[in-house]
Structures are given as structure tokens and as C-alpha cells.
């Protein structure tokens, strides 16, 4: 008897995959950061295309300068929670900036994006309330549901008709909180928020929370995210997000116009029982939000990079998400191929994320790229070239594929993810088959 016995199957699977010599995904160490897009890994200069660092603000002289000043003025940490000794003028300034950024009355800053979701979802919906979550929501949203006492219903990914059917089953007389994301992290697909808020408006006592973790700074005229992109910001009740992607540091937030919003500071446990963000982090986040708001050219460059990578990979015959987005995920048929592909990439000086079930929708195996506005065209073309070379070596692409992105047909085996989704309906049993 050992507490760790229950992990034996996982330990066996891990060792079978990892103990074959060479780098492993969970063991990557960035020995030195050369820039936002290049690091030294295992002594090799490596292009980073899996960092969520969408706008490249981690090394911007303005964010670094603000962090240095914050560190000098406020010290290395607050050593306390927000409701005790952990609120400095910088935390207040960041919350003021967020409210101005979104044009909302209320704003709250959390120590991580994960805790922002845990806080909001576990606290907003109580024992008599209902939460309706998109099937493909992030683990932090599922965990928020587990932490709270509400009844949780799951609806089909990005499907407003399915959501409305499930909302109506619950009836008008109970409180219902819809939870969706702006951009989904695995395939980079965007939620149809215009349709979701329309559904919300048709069913009484329904609220909607949008997690803009991957869409902040990426979508919308001033970078607010998907809600701004669809022009429905005023119809979204709660926007949650993180500073750990486009903002380039760490932390989470929620903004809202609800008149009683501020009471959450006294009831949201993941907000109350943790130390607040250090002053340097708070200072760089505040400056980064200002940059995001006022520099649409960064978004333009990010999307241009995303389109170039998407076109290059889809043209070569890889199976990708339905449309170009700053997350470009390449689907491969099995764990073994995914791991071999990932290892060849890292040994060729390209870092991407290896994503496997249960983190992935449809239990797919993905090589997930995330673009950065700071990527050069030359870097993108290098990435495409290496992907094609390895794709051919592993037999995923025919020899006819070339770096010009010439379209090739592979006996219908590689098709768009959207097509695959439609073909499998609601992937009944698909997940089971893939994991086996």
C-alpha cells in the first residue's frame, strides 16, 4: 500500500514514452532568453512558437522599466493578501486602469488567471444556481465549478442552439450563468459571442461570463477581446482574463458593471486566501494594458504572422483548426507520432507545445503553435520549412509537399478540423476511441 500506487499506470505510460533518450516536453528548460521569440535550449538557439506571448511585451523596455521601478519602490513582494496588507497603490492603479480599459464600473485583480476563474465561477453561482459551460472550456473553469456548489451543465462547443435548448430545460425561474471563452486555447477557434448574448437575452435570469485569456490584446479595436470584436461588450456581464499571455507577466482579473460587484472581495476564497501580486508585476501589467490599448499595429503584426503560418502549414497539407488565429494547432494521428514530431522540432530548434488528451478537444493530439507579434517573417518561414521536412519524414505529408505551401491532397486523410467535426457529429464515442 502506497499513496502513490494510484499513479502507477501513468508512471508506466510516462516512462515508456519519455525514457527513450532525448528531450521531453515537461523537461524543457530555457537556459537563456535571447528575446521574446528566441531562447537557448540544450545549448541550441531555439525559435519559440509556443509561449502565449502574443504581443511580445515581456521584453518591451516600457514594461521592463515599469517592473524595475515597481521592484525598487515596493520591494520583492507584498507578503499578504489583498484584504489585509497586500493592497498597495499599484494594485489600485492597475484596477483603475482595467476599468478604464474595459469601460466598466468594477474591476478586481487576482494573483493568477486560474484563481480569477476559480473565484468568479465558484462564487457567483451558489447552491440553487446553474452554470452552463462550453464543453471545451479550460481546466480552470471546470475546477471553478468543482470548487463551488452550483449545478453544472455542459453544452456543445461553440453551439448557441445547444446552449439555448439546455437553458430552456432549466426554466426561467432559476439563476443561470453561461461560461465561455473568447478564443479557445487548443485550436484557436473564436466563440460566436454575438449569438451567445442573443441566446442570453431570450432566457430570463441568465448571465454570461467570458474568459478572454487568449483574446485579450488579440481581438477588438482596442484589444479588449472577443466581446469587443463582436461589438457586444455591453451585453457581457463578467469578463475574466489573465496577464500571463498578451500582457506578458502573471495575474488575473475580472471586470463587470454589476452594482454589487465589489462584495466579491469578501466572499471569493481564491482571492482572499492568497498573497497579492508583487509590485513589479502589477506595474508592468498596468503599462502593458496601456500599450495594448494604444498600439493596434501590434495586433496587426500578430495576425499577419498567424495568417502566414496558417497558410504555410495548411497549404502543405497539415490538418489545422478551422481558421487562422494566433493559436495554430497541427493535428497528428497518435501520441507516438505527436511525440516524435515534437522531439524532431525541438532538436531542429523549434519549440511548440505538445498537447494531448484530456487537455485537448476530441481527444486529439496537437502540436500547438502560438504566434508572437515579434516573430519575423524569416522565423515564420523557418518554422513552416521545418514542419514540412518533419511531416514528410514521418509520412504525414507526401513528398510532393513543398515549402511554397502548394496544396496537396492526401487521399482525403488530412482534412480541415471543421470538416472532421461535422463528419463525426457530436463525436459520440470519438474520444473513447482515440484514447483507448
Amino acid at each position: 500500500m502506497d499513496l502513490f500506487d494510484k499513479f502507477d499506470p501513468l508512471i508506466r505510460d510516462r516512462d515508456a514514452l519519455f525514457n527513450t533518450g532525448g528531450p521531453v516536453p515537461t523537461g524543457i528548460c530555457m537556459d537563456e532568453l535571447v528575446s521574446q521569440t528566441v531562447a537557448i535550449v540544450d545549448g541550441r538557439e531555439t525559435i519559440l512558437v509556443g509561449t502565449n506571448n502574443y504581443l511580445g511585451l515581456t521584453f518591451d523596455p516600457r514594461t521592463v522599466g515599469a517592473a524595475e521601478k515597481g521592484l525598487k519602490d515596493g520591494g520583492t513582494g507584498t507578503t499578504g493578501s489583498r484584504n489585509c496588507n497586500g493592497t498597495y497603490s499599484g494594485h489600485k492603479a492597475l484596477e483603475t486602469k482595467l476599468a478604464e480599459f474595459y469601460g466598466t464600473k468594477g474591476s478586481m485583480v487576482f494573483s493568477t488567471g486560474y484563481q480569477a476563474n476559480l473565484s468568479m465561477i465558484s462564487t457567483l453561482a451558489g447552491p440553487k444556481d446553474y452554470i452552463l459551460i462550453d464543453a471545451d472550456c479550460h481546466a480552470s473553469i471546470y475546477d471553478g465549478c468543482k470548487l463551488g456548489n452550483a449545478t453544472v451543465i455542459r453544452f456543445r462547443h461553440n453551439d448557441p442552439v445547444d446552449l439555448e435548448k439546455r437553458l430552456k430545460r432549466l426554466g426561467d425561474d432559476v439563476n443561470k450563468l453561461i461560461v465561455v471563452e473568447g478564443i479557445y486555447s487548443m485550436l484557436g477557434d473564436i466563440a460566436p459571442l454575438d449569438e451567445f448574448v442573443a441566446v442570453k437575452s431570450r432566457v430570463p435570469n441568465t448571465y454570461i461570463l467570458v474568459d478572454e485569456a487568449h483574446s485579450l490584446g488579440v481581438l477588438g479595436e482596442t484589444g479588449r477581446g472577443a466581446a469587443q470584436h463582436f461589438g457586444v461588450g455591453d451585453q457581457v456581464d463578467f469578463i475574466v482574463g489573465t496577464f500571463s499571455k498578451s500582457v506578458g507577466t502573471i495575474g488575473g482579473y475580472c471586470v463587470s458593471n454589476h452594482p454589487k460587484f465589489d462584495i466579491l472581495r469578501l466572499v471569493a476564497r481564491p482571492y482572499m486566501f492568497t498573497a497579492s501580486l508583487p509590485p513589479s508585476v502589477v506595474a508592468s501589467a498596468t503599462v502593458a494594458l496601456d500599450i495594448i490599448q494604444n498600439t493596434p499595429s501590434l495586433r496587426k503584426k500578430l495576425w499577419s504572422n498567424a495568417n502566414r503560418l496558417y497558410r504555410g502549414l495548411s497549404g502543405a497539407g497539415f490538418e489545422l483548426g478551422a481558421a487562422a488565429s494566433p493559436v495554430v494547432a497541427v493535428r497528428v494521428p497518435s501520441l507516438e507520432i505527436a511525440f516524435a514530431f515534437w522531439r524532431s522540432l525541438i532538436e531542429s530548434g523549434i519549440y511548440v507545445n505538445l498537447m494531448v488528451p484530456p487537455a485537448t478537444p476530441q481527444s486529439w493530439y496537437l502540436l500547438r503553435c502560438s504566434l508572437c507579434a515579434a516573430h519575423t517573417t524569416a522565423q515564420i518561414d523557418t518554422i513552416i520549412g521545418v514542419f514540412i521536412k518533419i511531416g514528410m519524414e514521418l509520412g504525414l505529408l507526401p513528398e510532393a509537399a513543398n515549402a511554397n505551401g502548394q496544396a496537396v491532397s492526401i487521399n482525403g486523410r488530412l482534412r480541415s478540423v471543421a470538416g472532421a467535426k461535422r463528419a463525426s457529429g457530436r463525436r459520440a464515442g470519438g474520444a473513447a476511441a482515440a484514447t483507448g
Binding site: 449545478t151 451543465i153 473513447a432
Partner: protein, 70 residues
């Protein structure tokens, strides 16, 4: 209803374990619940998942939700 989820075509009884016999992972079980919701026009909360180990337990849970509705 379970046929599409029974990839190995095993014999199904009330005692069939959803995870170890049917080999459904957590995502597949949630998909099965969604199919059940639509078949019976009921709401099946994810909250009941930890209590469902066998097909029999799942059937009883659905039965009690359907009874509660009528």
C-alpha cells in the same frame, strides 16, 4: 444509446464499469451524458459524475431525474 460508446463490443450489464470495462475517459462520459440529456429531454448535471461507476448507477440516476421531471 451505449452502442456508439461500446468500441470493443463487450456484453453490457448493470455491473459494467464505465471507466474500466467500457474504457470511457472523462470527456467521453460527459459526451454520453449530453446524449442522454437530449434523448430524455432532461438536465443531467456534471455534479453526479463522481457517483457513477457502473451502467446500472447511471441508469438509476437518469431514471430518478426523469421521475423527478414527471
Amino acid at each position: 444509446m451505449l452502442t456508439p460508446f461500446n468500441k470493443e463490443g463487450i456484453a453490457l450489464t448493470r455491473e459494467t464499469n464505465i471507466a474500466t470495462d467500457l474504457e470511457l475517459d472523462s470527456l467521453a462520459v460527459m459526451d454520453l451524458l449530453a446524449a442522454i440529456e437530449d434523448e430524455f429531454d432532461i438536465s443531467v448535471p456534471l455534479n453526479i459524475l463522481p457517483d457513477l461507476e457502473t451502467i446500472g448507477q447511471m441508469a438509476d440516476a437518469v431514471e430518478s431525474i426523469v421521475q423527478g421531471k414527471n
